[in-house]
């Protein structure tokens, strides 16, 4: 596994916010009946966090569960554990109707950190989501788009957005965020709120 590289290979940029490639992360798609006890046990068992409610994200460090749709979760674990975690969930769910695939390498994970105002504004230049603090805060997750590509993001805390996109467009998303964080482009919209 020492040959494994993320699409952005640890790229960073400092502008209105700090932008970083988070490197390889374990991301497992789990589809099934989110209300079933077996599925909840399988997901929380490997992720080590509580089951998230609709449009919510529960994360601790590299582990977590993101609500992706009424029948889909994204299970976050360290990259090295992803294959084993996938097999563990498969075993737990054997005999039920589900799908789980290790899609860690299909994606890239990036992070922006900065002041609560700056991180929201950088994102609001690219995504048609209401990012006012009343509408979106730590623990919320959205599956949406950044400019022209699909993306999902959540806020681990007030100073941080974590962003997931497809691996093939990781450079595009990095460059988008870089442009949105260019010096002199602060908007000042979330300042007051």
């Amino acid at each position: 596994m020492s040959d494994a590289v993320s699409a952005l290979d640890g790229a960073t940029y400092d502008g209105l916010v700090r932008l970083e490639d988070l490197g390889l992360r374990g991301m497992i798609t789990l589809r099934g009946d989110l209300a079933s006890v077996a599925l909840k046990n399988a997901a929380t068992g490997v992720a080590g966090v509580d089951m998230p409610a609709q449009r919510r994200a529960n994360t601790v460090g590299e582990r977590g569960l993101l609500w992706m749709s009424p029948d889909e979760l994204l299970v976050l674990v360290p990259h090295a554990e992803a294959d084993q975690a996938t097999r563990t969930m498969q075993a737990t769910l054997a005999g039920t109707h589900f799908l789980t695939e290790n899609l860690s390498d299909a994606r890239a994970m990036l992070r922006i950190t900065g002041t609560p105002t700056a991180v929201r504004e950088v994102m609001a230049k690219l995504t048609p989501v209401d990012l006012s603090p009343d509408a979106f805060g730590p623990g919320d997750v959205r599956r949406t788009r950044l400019a022209q590509v699909a993306a999902a993001f959540w806020m681990p805390d007030h100073n941080t957005f974590c962003i997931i996109c497809f691996r093939s467009v990781a450079s595009y998303v990095f460059d988008l965020l870089k442009a949105a964080a260019a010096p002199g482009s602060a908007v000042g919209y979330f300042d007051q709120s």
Binding site: V5, R31, H97, S104, D105, A106, F166, L176, A179
Partner: protein, 1003 residues
């Protein structure tokens, strides 16, 4: 002479002098000036030539409605044409150039058009089409082309950056005049989230210039107070230099923010396009003064009355020492009073109303100004600037009573509320006869998703003209918007506004009302597009009764100003000509944007590297480093070939094919779609999607499959692998990955929602590398880790394992006809495996190949390619793929359609191979001609080329094509005319040119 006044200029910082140029001439102004006010301060009255007649034109207005003062701004990468001088803030080093003149602004050859004006009436352009062809080519077209257009298109790449911003709010207020501010305050105090956009750099609109008192304070003090209060409110955001550009469905509004137009060179974006979702929109957009239609109303020095006042008060600029005021309403008296108070001369006020005005007329007379009621202007004297006016009675035909010398004329034909934003999304208007204006019909507001009104007009934009009415209307609008967004407004009362009592306007659509044709031909309606009263009357006379038709016939309102000054006057003129009521004629459609916005703002960040997403495979960097010539495939870039120095692309392709067939090739196949389909009903589901059976595929095996649309047409193909009892992996084409995944989800979610199937698009999880050629097995054996022998891993099977320590899945599938292994590894290790394969393959002369070699090799084998052999009208049966269509299945998508008579028609063209008689390559897309002609008189055809290549393997041109009764005509020679008129001859052959028995791939 226009000049700078000593003691006024409330928007200026006179301590800061600013240098700029106009047509290369060095001039100065002050901080706070607009380009227009600075030009006037330098007595630059003439600023451009008109569009059609090249008449001298001066500044006529002071704001966004300006039709004449358009300039080219900046140079090189910062050049922008058609910029309004009245809304361009002056900055140090500004370089402006006038437009539409040749050879110079002062001496313009095109002005000859002016003398020929009677030959260029309304519809001139359309009428030229009816002239003989030769006249168009040699006479009209050169004239039209030379005359057309205002500014020049920029030549260089734009040096600035732009961005978008998404904002959500309860209440969006468009306009920061006293109405907008009061509405924002009322909504803000109720607790609503409020965003207010003001297009200029100043709050207060025109109220501080117009005077009066609010709550016993001068208006500018009130504005200071209310802005200060709004700025302390955490739920209110105010933005200057940000125009509400358009109102769209569901409370979507575009805002156009000009961040650095006034301070070029500072870091950051030049413009920002705000994409706003508002629950309620308040349009407090004010009103625009109308010109009066008298002869010579376009001579430089004739200006809107309120604009003359704006220049005097805001910018300390006098447009002339002696200004004649002409009006049909009381407001223009304010201009006379202002000028007189500043010590300038107002020789006369011509009031078209026989009874004159109210308190303001009394004030003007008390200042010693001569007021003539029932009078108007017969014509303006002067050409490049006003030298005087000839006075007549408004009731007559224009007999001159008296000539009065003056150097400026201030005209007012009344006020039109800015209803543009109200109207963009369907808000209706009513004609207010008493105030002679169209104003918003409050009962017919634009409505949202559940039928609720989501736009409110406020203040002057709603037809309220006096300060008191404006404030109470705006206060009510703010409170209503707060209520509509779930907030509880305070029960405080609106501020009190005090202004002098005004007499009613009397509509004047032509001055004098009986003006003869000579005067009407010099009475301008649309200054930018050169439309006169006589043109609209001619249109009516020629049968253009609809205002929309008249607009297009005369070009009234079609210029960059979109008729802000001309539309109401034009339609009133049309109504008179048609003897119809104004509301019966109606307005043309108001379309966004309110004023032109930059292309850069629309594009936002999407330029340069991030113009479009570029999808990169895990081996992209290697391809780049090794000189790949790229082929765009969707958003991917795939290597077309890897030319070495001295090689043409054709040479490179031939080398790649030959080396792969002879020894060993390597292909990055990562972009191929990979979709997991899993569940108890997955087999049944795939049997419906594919034309052949997938449920019977054994675990560990692969099968080629075809997918059709419901209409039977071939949509995608690929190899399906059975992973385990209830899991399949479907390969799709590169372009099909997202489309086929969506196709699957659509059927699952809408038709077979009760089937237990989950899908996942796993395309990007894997780097997929094809190891192709007779030495492929030796290479994998050298890397070690898996048994890849014929016995353990035969053709059309797959196995999991590890190669060189990298976990992988190997599919023994072949699109080249060679021994071939497609190896899928996690994307993060794709490059590592690629490098290992290359290193280990050196001894076999391993050769990476691109998409063209892939295409050539598949064509040599007679394999079809989606998008070449298919075009949305081809069914599998056309391609001889009947072997891949199950006869046993009762149904699959497309089955029923393929049984329709036209689909089962034996005369459908069928796939064959084509081999040129002389070995040359057939032109792509060429048609085989037949005897006779078709119904359209064109040469009849009997087939066409779908793929064509030079085959390095066979040393000649090979092709595939669809031919009438093709498979029954083996050996026949067809004629394919080339574009150059020559004919290529090709023989119909079997489409499999190479290794018909598949001995090479099945080893």
């Amino acid at each position: 002479m226009s000049t700078r006044l000593a003691h006024t200029g409330r928007l200026l910082t006179k301590a800061r002098q600013i240098a700029f140029t106009f047509n290369g001439k060095h001039l100065t102004g002050f901080e706070g000036d607009t380009l227009a006010s600075a030009l006037l301060a330098n007595d630059q009255m003439l600023v451009g030539r008109s569009f059609k007649y090249h008449r001298p034109r001066g500044i006529i207005a002071s704001g966004a409605e300006e039709p004449n003062a358009l300039v080219g701004l900046g140079t090189g990468a910062s050049f922008e044409p058609n910029q309004r001088a009245t809304t361009t803030a002056l900055f140090d080093g500004l370089a402006a150039a006038s437009q539409n003149h040749w050879p110079s602004l002062d001496f313009d050859v095109g002005a000859i058009n002016n003398r020929l004006a009677r030959f260029f009436p309304a519809g001139f352009y359309y009428k030229t089409f009816m002239a003989p062809r030769a006249a168009w080519k040699h006479l009209f077209e050169p004239i039209v082309r030379h005359s057309a257009g205002l500014g020049k298109a920029p030549r260089d790449r734009d040096a600035d950056t732009y961005e978008h911003f998404y904002a959500f709010t309860d209440v969006l207020v468009i306009g920061g005049g006293v109405a907008g501010l009061q509405a924002a305050l009322a909504a803000g105090r109720a607790g609503a989230q409020v965003l207010l956009l003001e297009q200029t750099p100043h709050y207060g609109g025109r109220a501080p210039v117009d005077g009066g008192k609010i709550n016993d304070l001068p208006v500018d003090k009130f504005v200071e107070q209310i802005v200060a209060e709004l700025e302390t409110m955490p739920n209110v955001t105010l933005r200057l230099r940000c125009m509400g550009a358009g109102v769209y469905d569901h409370g979507y509004v575009l805002g156009y923010e000009q961040l650095s137009d006034h301070t070029p060179g500072i870091p950051g974006p030049r413009h920002r396009l705000w994409k706003i979702r508002a629950k309620q929109v308040i349009t407090a957009t004010g009103a625009i003064e109308r010109p009066l239609s008298f002869a010579g109303n376009d001579v430089p020095g004739v200006m809107l009355a309120a604009s003359v006042r704006d220049y005097a008060v805001n910018y300390g600029v006098s447009v002339g020492d002696r200004t004649v005021v002409v009006t049909n309403n009381d407001d223009a008296y304010r201009t006379a009073i202002t000028l007189k108070t500043l010590g300038l001369e107002v020789p006369v006020i011509l009031d078209a109303r026989t009874k004159g005005g109210g308190d303001l007329m009394v004030q003007a007379r008390a200042l010693g100004v001569r007021v003539e009621t029932g009078k108007g202007i017969a014509k303006v004297l002067g050409t490049k600037r006003v030298t005087g006016v000839a006075i007549c009675t408004q009731a007559g035909e224009g007999a001159v009573l008296e000539e009065i010398a003056c150097d400026a004329v201030a005209m007012s034909g009344g006020w039109s509320p800015v209803v543009h934003l109200w109207s963009h999304c369907g808000g209706k208007l009513i004609w207010d006869a008493a105030q002679a204006m169209f104003r918003p019909d409050v009962d017919k507001a634009p409505t949202g998703a559940s039928g609720e009104a989501f736009v409110l007009a406020a203040g002057t934009a709603n037809g309220a003209l006096s300060l008191g009415a404006v404030l109470s209307d705006a206060d009510a609008a703010g409170k209503a918007a707060a209520t509509a967004t779930g907030h509880k407004p305070k029960s405080d009362s609106a501020p009190q506004g005090e202004t002098p009592a005004e007499a009613l306007i009397e509509p004047v659509w032509m001055m004098p009302q009986g003006a003869g044709v000579k005067l009407r031909m010099k009475s301008w309606l649309d200054f930018q597009n050169d439309v006169k009263v006589s043109d609209v009357q001619l249109a009516a006379q020629e049968g253009y009764e609809s205002v929309e038709h008249t607009k297009r016939y005369t070009t009234l309102g079609m210029a960059t100003d979109q008729g802000k000054l001309s539309n109401i006057n034009g339609l009133a003129t049309l109504a008179r000509a048609l003897n119809a009521d104004i509301p019966a004629v109606g307005t043309t459609t108001f379309r966004p944007p309110y004023t032109p916005i930059s292309m850069g703002a629309i594009a936002g960040e999407a330029r340069g590297e991030i113009f479009q997403p570029l999808r990169r495979s895990p081996m992209h960097a290697w391809h780049e480093e090794n000189g790949a010539y790229w082929e765009p495939v969707g958003h991917w870039r795939r290597p077309y070939c890897y030319p070495r120095s001295g090689e043409t692309h054709a040479d490179a392709v031939a080398r790649e094919v030959n080396q792969t067939r002879a020894s060993l090739g390597l292909l990055d196949a990562s972009t191929l779609g990979k979709i997991i389909v899993k569940g108890p009903d997955a087999g049944r589901f795939l049997d419906m999607l594919y034309t052949n059976m997938m449920s019977t595929l054994a675990v560990g095996k692969c099968r080629y499959g075809l997918m059709c649309s419901e209409n039977g047409f071939l949509s995608d193909d690929g190899v399906v692998a059975r992973i385990d009892d209830d899991t399949w992996l479907c390969h799709t084409t590169t372009g099909g990955a997202d489309r086929i995944h969506a196709h699957m989800e659509e059927w699952l979610q809408t038709e077979w929602w009760d089937w237990q199937v989950y899908t996942a698009n796993v395309t990007e999880q894997y780097a997929q590398i094809a190891v192709v050629g007779p030495n492929g097995r030796k290479l994998l054996e050298k890397l070690g880790g898996m048994d890849v022998s014929r016995e353990t891993l035969p053709f059309m099977t797959w196995a999991d394992g590890a190669l060189a320590g990298i976990g992988c899945r190997i599919y023994r599938i072949s699109f080249s006809g060679e021994l071939s292994y497609e190896i899928a590894v996690p994307a993060s290790q794709g490059r590592a495996l690629w490098d290992k394969l290359l290193a280990a393959g050196q001894e076999f002369g391993i050769t990476p190949y691109g998409t063209e070699a892939l295409h050539v090799m598949r064509a040599e084998k007679g394999f079809i390619m989606i998008g070449d052999e298919t075009d949305g009208t081809v069914i599998p049966q056309d391609l001889g793929l009947n072997w891949a269509i199950s006869k046993k299945k009762s149904d699959y998508l497309g089955k029923r359609a393929q049984e329709r008579s036209h689909m089962a028609d034996p005369n459908r063209w069928k796939l064959v191979g084509l081999e040129t008689v002389d070995g040359s390559v057939l032109p792509d897309g060429a048609y085989a001609v037949a005897e006779g002609v078709n119904d359209n008189g064109q040469k009849a055809t009997q087939g066409r080329v779908t793929s064509t290549y030079h085959s390095p393997t066979l040393g000649k041109g090979i092709a595939m094509g669809l031919v009438l009764h093709g498979p029954d005509r083996m050996g026949e020679v067809l004629d394919f005319p080339r574009i150059d008129g020559s004919v290529a001859q090709a023989r119909i052959v079997d489409p499999v040119f190479f290794d018909k028995d598949g001995e090479k791939q099945n080893v």
